[in-house]
């Protein structure tokens, strides 16, 4: 039949066909896959999917790798995708399908997805073409993972008492780390008269149990690891048992673990399967010394639980420096105690990268508490086989090994063989730090005697470039013995982080050893940083292993300023004599400096010229509390800058120069004084001092807290005494029974009044010692204190009147 089309129909159909051809642009995709294989992984789960592509990827968008356990692409799992761009033409591709145990047949496909196309006259509709499929490639379970698993290394078996001719056997085995491991199979030889091995038990996990007939035979049991695909290991350890109904001790426990935690060492183990286990015993001994050296730590009563945990709170702290413990566990039934589980070491873990070493330390650097341990005894004990050591990197691919012969501590040291100049093993961590941070670095090092062996803390800027270092430089040590080197240094400008580097610095390559690396950052000054009990001065260890102190803080800086020492001067035409009474001064650290009275050892100059002015330069030894003169005898007759400077040297507080003019002619000596107080109570007046109670004013010393009264808070307060001194005078006022200096400010109940103006006060001309007590004024500028005997009298608020 001929279809009659009108002109419009013909034109429309021609137009549509042309559009479609144009839109497809003749890019009809072809299957780009040339080869496609799936191969089982030899020693593990899964398979390797490999495929190659041809040169023509036109019209193709991407290729998908698909897998299913049945031959159904629609329900397959998408494993991976690859873009089919031009550069992938003729490419070889490989995908490891490691997430599949291949216990059953597997089907793999490659699915080529075409580029989307536009459809319709307006080209607004996107149409995806049908995917092009390669495959399936079938991977038979029988062909996958045919290699045997790792053998079981250790296992143990116990026999239960025979019952009705049957004996229960309980097995504990160490689970191999091989991921292909599937189960533990026990084969018996000599069982039921059969000289060939036969399978008598199998378990997926430890422990497990099975039964055997109580034949009276002595049989050999062999444990085989079996892969998940059913492949047996080629060998396995054996035990011989006699099936005569005699119960044995429990099987040795396997899979005991220890975990070092902040509170100690946690020991974990699964219970044995023997129903008659009554208890478990946990032992602890020095690492490597075996069960014979271990001592019982605890006995845990069996509760029927499947798992037990014991926390040894002293498992770390009891360990000797650089050492750690091994733990053992036994199970006990009425027959006896099982053999000990394999030793498990409680090695402190790498808790974070700030602790790349373990163990205790013999650190020589200052043991101040204001410190941050950046690296705590990195002695390479974390692993006997992993290189570079955990926590370290080896960017220069240096020849690293562990030296187990005579390490400085622990079991091994790190050896760099034929190390090129300045090629370093680096700490993996870069610790943040700032310019000015003070670090101490210490390490034990050996070398071959030809080069400097160095453990350096390298300071890095924000770009990672080195801006300086603190190096414990071992000089050129030999391998004969360990040498401990240390150094101290401050992070320079632009430092943002630091990193430890182990290296040698000679041009010629050499071999070097490292052990026990420590890095400490000083965080604050504290008592352990002092060079004495009084003054806060920073100590550090210099490169020659000498303890040094900073000169930044001079001792005299700790004397609270403004404390007026009192000296008395007498002179004739040929002599000058300087004396002083006992005084006490407060240091900034709260300690007291007691100035010993001159007594019979005044400073005396004789043979002087009459009518001559002399300049005497005195200083106070702030440790001994003694006043001495630095000038020569006779004193200079004009100001002397050198003497003036000498009064303020380290360890001394300068006293202003004393200027004395001798008398013109022999006669009664003149006199004078410098410094001193003006008003205060008499020596025997009682005051109240915190922690001392009521004491004489003359017994108050700097640093005491003397009781006063705060008008602001309307309550008694304690004020710090800054300075005390005594001066003999012969004029007093008696106010309400209290003996005070004549102009002493006294609170009369309404206002501060000089003592001599207090109504009823009386004059006293006796000789006595006026005790000058300077107290620290409080936030309200009050500085009074009480005379507390009889009717208390408030005195000494010299300047400030209450509101």
């Amino acid at each position: 039949m001929t279809q009659q089309l009108d002109r419009d129909d013909v034109l429309w159909r021609m137009q549509t066909q042309a559009d479609l051809l144009r839109l497809r642009n003749l890019q009809i995709p072809k299957n780009p896959v040339v080869t496609f294989t799936a191969t089982p992984l030899p020693n593990s789960f899964g398979a390797t999917i490999e495929f190659t592509l041809g040169p023509d990827l036109k019209g193709c968008s991407q290729i998908n790798v698909m897998r299913n356990r049945i031959n159904d692409l629609s329900s397959a799992v998408l494993l991976n995708t690859y873009p089919l761009t031009a550069e992938n033409a003729n490419g070889d591709f490989q995908f490891i399908d490691s997430d599949q145990a291949l216990l059953a047949d597997q089907f793999y496909w490659l699915q080529t997805i075409p580029l989307p196309e536009r459809a319709g006259l307006a080209q607004t509709e996107a149409v995806s073409g049908t995917p092009i499929v390669s495959g399936p490639v079938t991977l038979s379970a029988l062909n996958a993972n045919l290699l045997p698993p790792d053998a079981i290394a250790d296992w143990s078996v116990s026999l239960g008492a025979g019952s009705n001719g049957i004996q229960l056997l309980c097995v504990n085995f160490a689970v191999p780390s091989d991921p292909n491991f599937g189960s533990c199979q026990i084969q018996a030889t000599g069982y039921l008269g059969d000289t060939n091995p036969q399978i008598v038990g199998q378990g997926l996990s430890s422990p497990f149990s099975f039964t055997m007939v109580q034949t009276g035979e002595t049989v050999t049991l062999q444990a085989f690891a079996v892969s998940k695909n059913g492949i047996n290991a080629t060998s396995g350890p054996t035990h011989t048992v006699t099936l005569n109904g005699t119960e044995t001790v429990p099987a040795k426990l396997e899979n005991v673990t220890v975990t070092v935690i902040t509170t100690g060492v946690q020991v974990d183990f699964d219970a044995g399967l023997e129903a008659d286990i009554t208890s478990y015993k946990v032992y602890r001994g020095p690492h490597g010394s075996g069960f014979g050296s271990a001592t019982l730590k605890t006995t845990i009563t069996s509760t029927g639980s499947r798992h037990y945990t014991y926390l040894d709170t002293t498992g770390i702290s009891d360990a000797a420096a650089g050492a750690y413990f091994d733990y053992f566990v036994t199970a006990v039934n009425h027959v006896g105690e099982s053999s000990a589980s394999a030793a498990v070491s409680a090695i402190p873990p790498l808790q974070n990268m700030d602790q790349i070493g373990q163990g205790a330390t013999y650190l020589k650097v200052p043991q101040f508490t204001g410190r941050e341990i950046v690296v705590s005894n990195a002695n390479f004990e974390a692993s006997a086989s992993i290189l570079p050591p955990p926590g370290w990197i080896n960017p220069s691919s240096l020849n690293l090994s562990y030296e187990t012969v005579s390490p400085d501590s622990g079991n091994r040291s790190l050896k760099i063989t034929t190390c090129p100049q300045n090629s370093a093993v680096l700490s993996e961590s870069k610790w943040p730090c700032s310019p000015g941070d003070n670090f101490f670095v210490q390490a034990a090092m050996k070398g071959d005697g030809t080069s400097d062996v160095v453990t350096a803390l390298v300071f890095l800027d924000k770009t990672g470039a080195s801006v300086g270092s603190v190096a414990a430089d071992g000089g050129a040590p030999t391998s004969a013995s360990w040498n401990i080197y240390e150094n101290q240094g401050v992070a320079p400008a632009n430092t943002v982080s630091c990193q430890v580097a182990l290296k040698q610095t000679a041009v010629t390559s050499s071999t070097c050893w490292f052990d026990d690396i420590h890095v400490i950052r000083q965080t604050n000054m504290d008592n352990e940083l002092l060079d004495g009990s009084t003054f806060r001065r920073l100590k550090y260890v210099n490169s020659s292993n000498t303890i040094s102190v900073s000169s930044a803080l001079n001792p005299q800086g700790s004397i609270i300023p403004g404390q007026a020492l009192t000296v008395s001067i007498s002179f004739t035409d040929t002599t000058i004599t300087i004396t002083w009474s006992g005084q006490s001064l407060l240091r900034a650290d709260g300690s007291i400096l007691s100035l010993v009275a001159s007594g019979g050892s005044p400073i005396t100059y004789t043979g002087l010229s009459a009518s001559t002015t002399y300049y005497i330069y005195l200083r106070l030894n702030v440790i001994a509390g003694v006043i001495t003169a630095v000038n020569s005898s006779p004193p200079p007759t004009s100001p002397n800058a050198t003497n003036a400077a000498q009064t303020a040297l380290d360890g001394f507080a300068a006293i202003p120069a004393v200027k004395v003019t001798t008398q013109a002619a022999p006669g009664p000596p003149g006199g004078g004084s410098g410094g001193g107080g003006d008003t205060c109570p008499e020596y025997s007046e009682l005051v109240t001092v915190r922690d001392k109670g009521q004491i004489k004013a003359g017994e108050v010393v700097a640093g005491d807290m003397i009781q006063g009264y705060s008008f602001k808070t309307q309550s008694n307060v304690f004020r710090r005494v800054l300075f005390t001194s005594g001066t003999e005078i012969s004029a007093w006022r008696i106010v309400n029974g209290h003996k005070v200096s004549p102009a002493e400010p006294v609170w009369d109940g309404n206002k501060w009044t000089p003592a001599y103006r207090i109504p009823g006060s009386t004059f006293d001309g006796s000789i006595g010692t006026r005790i000058n007590i300077t107290v620290e004024s409080d936030d309200f500028d009050e500085s009074n204190f009480w005379l507390t005997s009889g009717t208390p009298l408030l005195i000494h608020n010299t300047f400030i009147l209450p509101c």
Partner: protein
Amino acid sequence: MMQKWMLSQCFEKSDGVTEPVCTAYGMRFLMPTAPATSGGWCLVFILTSPHQMGAAGQDPRVQVYRSSFATITPETVTTYAAQGATAGMFLGELLDVLSGVEPNFGTTSLLNAG
């Protein structure tokens, strides 16, 4: 604080040193010459205060010169008569005379005396 001259009797301290009584009314002082005899008087240059001068005014062993233009007291005349003190002299005049004999009477400041 202010620096004033006081005529003062003296006492002997426990260490044997002769000390002017007026030291109870000040803190830093200079005594150019001690009295020749016990109970005698001497001029003392002292750092003191108005209250202390007020208190000293009630002490019969002390005479306060508040000004260099104060007329010297009879006790002062007696004490320094041998050096030229005469009744009616101002203190300043007396000091001028005394400093010619003993330089420390010419002291004008205690603040640099240690």
